[in-house]
């Protein structure tokens, strides 16, 4: 389909594709096998200015929006979803800052994110707070000289590798979610350490770690916006970041579709390439439909975010749910088409299938998001007489 991207967006997408094909493709199997954080690739991404895409121009960025970010994530994910999420997590880590931070806070942290010198990360999940994100226990007690953080964050993407963390913690634990606040914590702050690095099914190039805060004193000026708004800020953030997960799914599914088509074209059985067999054609056609429909929905949701629309909860949730379910299905079918070869680790589609699963889980499970969509449907119905 024609998505009427601007010249600039085409350039961004083209450059991300070039980078992915030239720099990530040759080492993606190795990154997956070794579960190694792709620092060399992060440097390439930085040198290409792709970290600048989502940062405003006044802070040394290029001033792009949600769609621009999605285009980069899609192209990186087409080759390696683990690399793509490491890039996207840096954006996630500074979006609250971009939306609620003061000029001074932005000046302090954003230029280093834009240049790629430092990575960002966002931390809300805890052992007790997954889908029930309001049930966090980490506290940020107001003391003289700042906030004293105590608690443990779990499953944090870019944990241990990022320098700048946006952490949601309770500045008033008597108020529950209404006592939560967003605070920037820099790596190296005394009392801030990293727990175990998780071993995952997929996106194994990315780092997922615990963040451990033990009497970690953070300066008062690191608080983003007003205290008590942290939970709302986080929910608003996810409304705007979910098309990014959708684009990760689109790229992943696109990559798997391409591998499956190539394989079906080359694989000869019964004296013919299997692509000429009806049942295989039907699968490939279904995969292509899923990929394109997902892309259309993701781009539309991203454009809605960029339009400044006030409420994008439903649309961004739809784009994430649809695209991630599509990615799971498409990658599974890609393995099926590639048969025994596809099941082997020497061939890229099994990795893609492993990488797809997380997309249905993180940044809101597809169940909790369907729930959110349904809640909105009920609300609207209740309002109409």
């Amino acid at each position: 389909l024609e998505y009427f991207l601007t010249e600039e967006q085409k350039t961004i997408k083209g450059l991300a594709r070039k980078l992915a094909e030239e720099r990530i493709l040759p080492i993606r199997a190795e990154l997956d096998e070794k579960e190694e954080f792709p620092w060399a690739i992060m440097k390439d991404i930085a040198d290409s200015d792709l970290f600048r895409v989502f940062v405003p121009e006044e802070y040394e960025g290029l001033g792009g929006g949600c769609l621009d970010l999605c285009l980069v994530v899609e192209e990186l994910s087409r080759i390696c979803s683990g690399v793509a999420v490491s890039y996207a997590a840096s954006a996630l880590g500074c979006m609250t800052l971009m939306e609620y931070g003061t000029d001074e806070q932005k000046k302090k942290f954003l230029p280093d994110i834009a240049s790629g010198k430092k990575l960002g990360a966002f931390a809300i999940t805890e052992a007790t707070a997954g889908s029930d994100a309001s049930n966090i226990k980490t506290t940020a007690e107001k003391v003289e000289g700042g906030y004293l953080l105590n608690g443990t964050k779990q499953f944090i993407t870019n944990g241990g590798e990022a320098e700048i963390y946006t952490v949601i913690a309770l500045t008033d634990k008597t108020k529950g979610a209404r006592g939560a606040s967003a605070i920037i914590v820099e790596k190296g702050t005394p009392g801030f350490t990293f727990g175990k690095k998780e071993k995952k099914i997929g996106i194994r190039a990315s780092a997922t770690s615990e963040l451990v805060f033990r009497n970690c004193l953070v300066p008062e000026e690191n608080l983003l916006g007003k205290p008590g708004l942290g939970f709302i800020q986080a929910m608003r953030l996810f409304d705007r970041s979910r098309p990014g997960i959708g684009s990760q799914a689109v790229g992943l599914a696109q990559g798997a579709l391409e591998v499956a088509v190539d394989y079906a074209q080359e694989r000869v059985q019964f004296n013919q390439p299997i692509i000429s067999i009806g049942v295989v054609q039907s699968m490939l056609a279904e995969m292509a439909i899923q990929v394109e429909a997902a892309r259309a929905l993701v781009y539309a949701a991203a454009r809605m975010v960029d339009s400044g629309a006030k409420n994008v909860t439903e649309e961004s949730a739809m784009s994430k749910v649809f695209a991630s379910d599509a990615a799971m299905k498409v990658t599974t079918d890609a393995v099926q088409i590639c048969g025994g070869t596809g099941y082997m680790r020497d061939f890229p589609v099994e990795k893609m299938m492993r990488d797809a699963k997380i997309l249905q889980i993180y940044e809101g499970t597809n169940q909790i998001l369907r729930n959110a969509i349904a809640v909105n449907l009920r609300k609207r119905k209740a309002r109409t007489p």
């Binding site: 350039t11 980078l19 200015d49």
Partner: protein, 261 residues
């Protein structure tokens, strides 16, 4: 440091066609790329500038479309570009090419270092770099695999030789050609691409270069390609007869006859 990088736009595929009339490359209708070895030259130029300051000027001689290659070089970090373009340049051999490029270098004076790729992937001669040095009467080092040091007016480099490497030192200005071991060329950057789109690239013709008419293009070329052909593939086999010893003796005498042993 004023750095000049010479580059050539070459056909981006292996489908090289030869014009049967002139025996030169057919360039029309083929997607062109920067000669891969020249990409290393651009990268090294940009790295030297990043370390020592100054500017990188890329120069190419070619048809109007060669401007694309210059814009790409700017997206890869070059500061300025010049296109040498004139009907009179057409059909140049390496000597006439080196003449035009060295005239451009004179016009761009003062410069400290001229960097070229070790050879092109279409012509494959590797002659333009050394010929330029000859014409400019400055030192030349080929196959540079590492810049060791640049200090006041001198350049120390490592270069590949068959059984290892040599460390050489020269005064500046000098011409060097670089091999692919020297670096890993960076990808374009978004800001570089933006800059490359709006960059003003001057075109110099033979007159503006102060080039003598009979020294450029076909008339300035002292070599002519008489014929380009694919060598015929011939393979023959012969079974030796007799017992092992006889076969061995026959084989040895055959090899001796063929001066192979």
């Amino acid at each position: 440091m004023n750095i000049i990088v010479c580059l050539k736009q070459v056909p981006g595929t292996t489908e090289v066609k030869i014009d049967p009339q002139t025996n030169t490359l057919v360039r029309q209708g083929i997607k062109n790329i920067i000669n891969p070895f020249d990409a290393y030259a651009i990268e090294e130029g940009v790295r030297i500038r990043e370390q020592h300051g100054g500017k990188v000027t890329v120069v190419t001689m070619g048809p109007p479309q060669a401007e694309e290659a210059l814009r790409e070089a700017i997206s890869l970090g070059a500061d300025e570009a010049v296109l040498l373009c004139d009907g009179a340049f057409a059909g140049a051999d390496t000597w006439a090419t080196a003449y035009a490029l060295s005239q451009a270098a004179v016009k761009l004076e003062p410069y400290d270092i001229i960097i070229c790729g070790r050879q092109t992937i279409d012509g494959d001669t590797g002659q333009v770099g050394p010929e330029m040095a000859e014409m400019l009467e400055i030192p030349f080092i080929a196959y540079v695999s590492k810049i060791e040091e640049i200090t006041d007016g001198t350049l120390r480099v490592r270069r590949m030789v068959e059984e290892g490497h040599e460390i050489l030192e020269t005064t500046l200005p000098a011409v060097i050609t670089v091999s692919k071991e020297i670096n890993l060329p960076r990808l374009p950057s978004l800001r570089g691409i933006t800059k490359s789109k709006s960059a003003v690239i001057p075109t110099w013709n033979a007159e503006e270069l102060g080039a003598e008419k009979d020294k450029v293009g076909l008339s300035g070329s002292s070599t002519k390609v008489i014929k380009v052909f694919f060598p015929q593939r011939i393979s023959e086999s012969e079974m030796l007869e007799g017992d092992c010893e006889t076969q061995a003796d026959t084989l040895i005498s055959r090899l001796k006859d063929a001066s192979l042993i």
